[in-house]
Each structure stands twice: as structure tokens, then as C-alpha cells.
Symmetry: C2
Subunit: 336 residues, 2 copies
DNA sequence: CTGTTAGCGCTTTCAT
DNA sequence: ATGAAAGCGCTAACAG
């Protein structure tokens, strides 16, 4: 593979150390020499071999991004945002799909460390003990996304899951709904736990009794929403509203309503979460809790970059971005 | 960073060369020694440093995946498929979003080469001259996706764009439609050119005149479909059907119809492309041309792996996977 | 300011 | 079958 630092040194009549110095500006070099070197570099089209560099410097300009899957547009956009932001700073994204498998996650973490990635963005449930241990042992910069670390050990980027779901539920209540189902993900996710807490609190604040039977624990995708919906609509005395954990789930639920002969929003209100592009295009438009998805990704990248820059001086930060209820057509006042 | 081959050699009382040999099985080692080394490796939890290895071997177990963006679910699923297939074979995915910018593309290609990636999957329009030159100069394994190379220089994985669009158009014609709009992407993409050719041929075969005014060139996303739709529906003497370049475009078009007081499919039939999950869940279900998206990704990965394995012996192959018209609710026979 | 030299952690001749 | 030693391409003391 072509042309090395040696070739440059030779042609410029200097030592390789000098070439290295002008390229990295690590030590002063006389103007004359610097210019000659730069010229030769240009002329030969020399590019330092990043792998050799990594071996010494223990840094790779690679960032690992661990995600649970890409079936949800939220994640696609999030990843795209990270990739674009990192690209600006000359970092490249190593995409690792863990499929929610802890072993795969750990495997990837180990692999990333060996490749000397400069940092990792983790989009998984809560940091599990093994992960925590990993990051404490190896001191690789990390930011957790869609998670809020209470103990201040790790940097996090997220919205306020609790408040967002509280707001969503309250919105439904203010529309007159008293019986509101919750289509959530598995409760092993702290995200779900916190959202559920927001939901419960809203109910409590408005004197509505919490009913465990209205809680459906599935996943974040269309299929889950559909299945939960079909199950729910078979029950008698069904709710007048559903609070969903994602827009995809909402879409599944709406479809299930359709297949059950129910109209949205006339017979049942459905509230989404995320506000991915499809939420706006859907008919009816999906009333939803907007997350600033792209911004979340950008900030995840920036926090990581900051962490890399500041090293030991860096103090973990938890950043909560604002959410917003976007009113469209999938929710309405409950019929008298 | 921890434990190296030296530590193992020391503890096992052998030379580092021997350790290397048992780990790579590159030369015979006596059973006794081998076992002892393996024991120490186990005991110390030694992992060869892949970066040092890359520096010598010029291979990284990294695969670059270049995509134009992730706003379309087709790409997300495609990328996920590649990632999962590569993971099985111990390769990791470097995700590069080019945003359709040729310079970014070239930049990434250069970067990937420097990182000694073992291969790259390219999901972009046609191979442009500079890319072709790149791959010819550097001999890095590559497979083009969603593109069919006529000249047999590069491996490709795709469906038959021409035939697929021909079939879609014919389906619409057989439903009685004579005036069919085409919502496509920019014609700089060979993919679009070939699809357009299929569309035209179908019209011709059924004695329908081709009308340039019915062709809309935008992008693959919802917004594009919506804009094209709004424009189209303002015209008088509007078509009775639309043939779209993606399901997202179809969704945008349906929404536009809705906003224009048109019903789908009663007033206008809309045909999608891809069959992403949302197509099934949408109301009405979107009649569409199914691409085996996931399978496309898996095969892209496999072709690349084969290419890496066989090196010079490898003969570029063009693989076309079958498509299928999925009939749902967004298209119907033309009225009266 | 500049050159010489010793590695980073590994693979691979070349001897033995 | 095994070890010593020479690099892969680069950075960073260490001398001058």
C-alpha cells in the first residue's frame, strides 16, 4: 500500500521524525523545512497510515454506536444524526446492532475496546452491571442515550421520560378520558418504568384509579401495537384512549382498531410517541409526544466529543432535551 | 492496555513466535507446547490486538457500508441485514452516510482504504467514474446494491428494476387505468432510468401513449410524494393511478390525495414500492412491489465475504432477487 | 531545531 | 518444532 512517511522523508531530505513533527505540529520545525516537507507531502499525495498511528496513540477516530435494532425510525434518525455530527469532526461510526442481546452487547464492547475506539454511544435499556463494570475498568468515554443515570456516573442524553408521559396522559385526561390504556415496552427497561410512573402520577393527580389490566407490555414496533390493540379491543368495557410508547406502536394500534371496526379518534383516541416523519403523514395525523430525535443524536455526539477532548477533567453530565405534545388528529374529546 | 503476546510467551516459557503460531495455526506446534500456550492464553484472558495485526496483515475485519441516508426504512432494514450477517462472520460494520454527496463518498472511500477495510457495500446511484477508478486502483472487494452493472466489472445485488416496474404498471393497466402517473426519483439514478423504462414499455405494450407530464422527479421520501401529489392533483384531467418509487412516496401521495379531498383508492389508485412494514399497516394497506429487502442485505454481505475469501479467483457476479406484487387496498379498478 | 533510536503488538522469515 | 530477529508505519523520548 503505497507511500509512507519514509518516502516523504527521503524525498525531502529530512528524517522521518521531522516529517511526523510537521504533520502533527508536535514540535517546532523551521519554516523552510516545514514548507519543503509539506510540498513533498502534497506532491506524493501522502496520507499517514491511521492504523500505525492507532497502534501507538491508542486512538482510532472511530466511535462505536450500539443500538438494539433499526426497526424503529427513531433509531435510524438518531444514528444518522450521530454519524453526520461525527463526520464533521472526522470520526467514523462503527455500527453495532445488539438485537437486545446482552451477550452480543458485551461482545461488541470488548471488540470496540480492542479496536481502540475513542468512545461509544449506547442506546440500550439501563446500563447493566456488566456494562458498568466494563466502563469503569476501561475508562472509555461513553454516553448513554434514552436513559437517565441517577447516580451521576455516566453521561446521558435523553428527554424527561417521566414528565413527557405525564404530559401525554394529562392531555388525554383533559380531553375527558378516564379509562386510558398504556401500550409500553417490557418493564425491564428503565425508560418504560419511568414512563409508566409518569402515567400513573397523572392518573393519580386527576383522581383516576390505576388499573393494571390496562397496561400492555410488548415492544416498540408496529406489530406490538397491533397485537396489544387486538387484545384490548376484544375486552368489554374498553378504554377510550391509548397512550403508546412509540408512533410505530400507535400505528399498529390504529390498524387494530380499524380491523376491529373502531374509528380513530371517534371511538378511540390513540397517542403516539417520538414524532417520526410518518406520524405527520399518517391519516389521521398522529397526536404524539415529540422527541427532538435528530438533536438528541447530535448532542450525544457532541457530549462524547467533549468527553474525549477533556479526558480526566470531564465531569459526566445528564442532558434532558425538551419534549412537546404535537396535536394532530388521532385524539379527540371523549364522546358523551 | 493490558496483556500482550509477550506476557503469554513469558508465562508459557516459549517465544512469542510460538504463541503466534498456535493462535493462528500458521505452523505446526507440538501438542504439549500448544496446550500449555492455550492454557496460559485462557488463564490470562489474552486477546490478540487486532490493530497490530491489521498493520501487518493489511486486513481489519471491518466492512464499510456506504449509504445515501437513512430516511427511508428500506435502507435501515438493508443495513441491519448486512450488519447481522457480517456479525455472524466476525466482521464489523463501518457505517458511512454520504448524503448523496460525491465528495463525501470519495472521502469515505479513501478513509476506508486507509483503515484497511476488507470490503465495502455501496448503495448509491450508479458507480461514477471516480469510484470505478478507485476500485480498479485499489482492488478492494466491493458489491453494489440496488444497481445492476451491465459491464460485468462489479458484483451487484438487486432486483430487476425494469421488470418490477413493468409488472407494477401492467397491474395498474389491467385494473383499467390508462392514465398513470410516475412518481420517481431523480433521473441521474440508473435505478430510476431502468424503472422508467419498465413503465414506458408496459404502457407501450398496452397501446397507451407515454406522457412526459405525468412523470415527477423527486426523492424517495414522504415529503417528495406529498409534494408531487399536491402538484398533480391541482391539474385538471388528473390520472386515475400513480406508480411510486417507494412506499414512503406512496404514503406522501396518499396524504396529498387526502388533503385534496380525493379518496384512495376510490378516486385514485396508489402503488408503492419496497413493501416496508408500514405498507402493510397503513390504511388502506398499500399495494406495492415487494423487494426482499432483508435478503438483499444478507446476500450483499455474503457476496462480499465470498469475494474476500476467493480474492483474485473471484468472478464478479450480478444477482437479481425476485420481486412480487403485493395486493392490498390502495389500488382498485378504475371507476366507470 | 533536527536526527537517531526505541518501541506500539503482532507476523513471519531465517536459522537452528 | 522452536527461537531470534526483522519489520508493518508511525510517534516520542533522547541526544545533540
Amino acid at each position: 500500500m503505497d507511500i509512507t512517511i519514509k518516502d516523504v522523508a527521503l524525498k525531502a531530505n529530512v528524517s522521518i521524525a521531522t516529517v511526523s513533527r510537521v504533520l502533527n505540529q508536535s514540535k517546532p520545525v523551521s519554516k523552510a523545512v516545514r514548507e519543503r516537507v509539506l510540498e513533498v507531502v502534497e506532491e506524493l499525495g501522502f496520507n499517514p497510515n491511521p492504523v500505525a498511528r492507532t497502534l501507538i496513540m491508542k486512538e482510532s477516530r472511530l466511535i462505536g454506536v450500539l443500538i438494539p435494532g433499526i426497526e424503529n425510525m427513531f433509531i435510524s434518525i438518531f444514528v444518522q444524526a450521530i454519524e453526520e455530527e461525527l463526520f464533521k469532526h472526522n470520526y467514523t461510526t462503527l455500527l453495532c446492532n445488539t438485537n437486545r442481546d446482552l451477550d452480543v452487547e458485551l461482545h461488541y464492547l470488548k471488540l470496540l475496546k480492542e479496536k481502540y475506539v475513542d468512545g461509544v454511544v449506547l442506546l440500550t435499556s439501563a446500563p447493566k452491571p456488566k456494562q458498568i463494570q466494563f466502563f469503569e475498568n476501561h475508562a472509555v468515554p461513553v454516553v448513554f442515550a434514552s436513559h437517565t443515570d441517577q447516580e451521576g456516573r455516566f453521561s446521558c442524553i435523553n428527554i424527561d421520560d417521566y414528565q413527557a408521559t405525564y404530559d401525554a396522559t394529562r392531555y388525554l385526561i383533559q380531553l375527558g378520558h378516564r379509562k386510558i390504556a398504556f401500550f409500553g415496552g417490557p418493564r425491564v427497561y428503565v425508560q418504560i418504568v419511568r414512563r409508566l410512573a409518569g402515567y400513573k402520577q397523572a392518573l393519580a393527580d386527576y383522581g383516576i384509579e390505576y388499573d393494571e389490566k390496562l397496561i400492555y407490555e410488548q415492544d416498540y414496533d408496529i406489530e406490538s401495537g397491533y397485537e396489544s390493540g387486538m387484545k384490548l379491543f376484544r375486552q368489554e368495557d374498553r378504554p377510550t384512549a391509548i397512550c403508546c410508547v412509540s408512533d410505530m406502536v400507535a400505528i399498529g394500534a390504529i390498524r387494530a382498531a380499524d380491523d376491529s371496526g373502531l374509528r380513530v379518534p371517534e371511538d378511540i383516541s390513540v397517542m403516539g410517541f417520538d414524532d417520526i416523519p410518518i406520524a405527520k403523514a399518517y391519516r389521521p395525523g398522529i397526536t404524539t409526544v415529540r422527541q427532538p430525535v435528530y438533536e438528541l443524536g447530535v448532542q450525544a455526539a457532541q457530549m462524547l466529543l467533549k468527553q474525549i477532548r477533556e479526558k480526566e477533567d470531564y465531569v459526566p453530565e445528564v442532558k434532558l432535551l425538551p419534549h412537546e405534545i404535537i396535536v394532530r388528529g388521532s385524539c379527540m374529546t371523549v364522546k358523551g
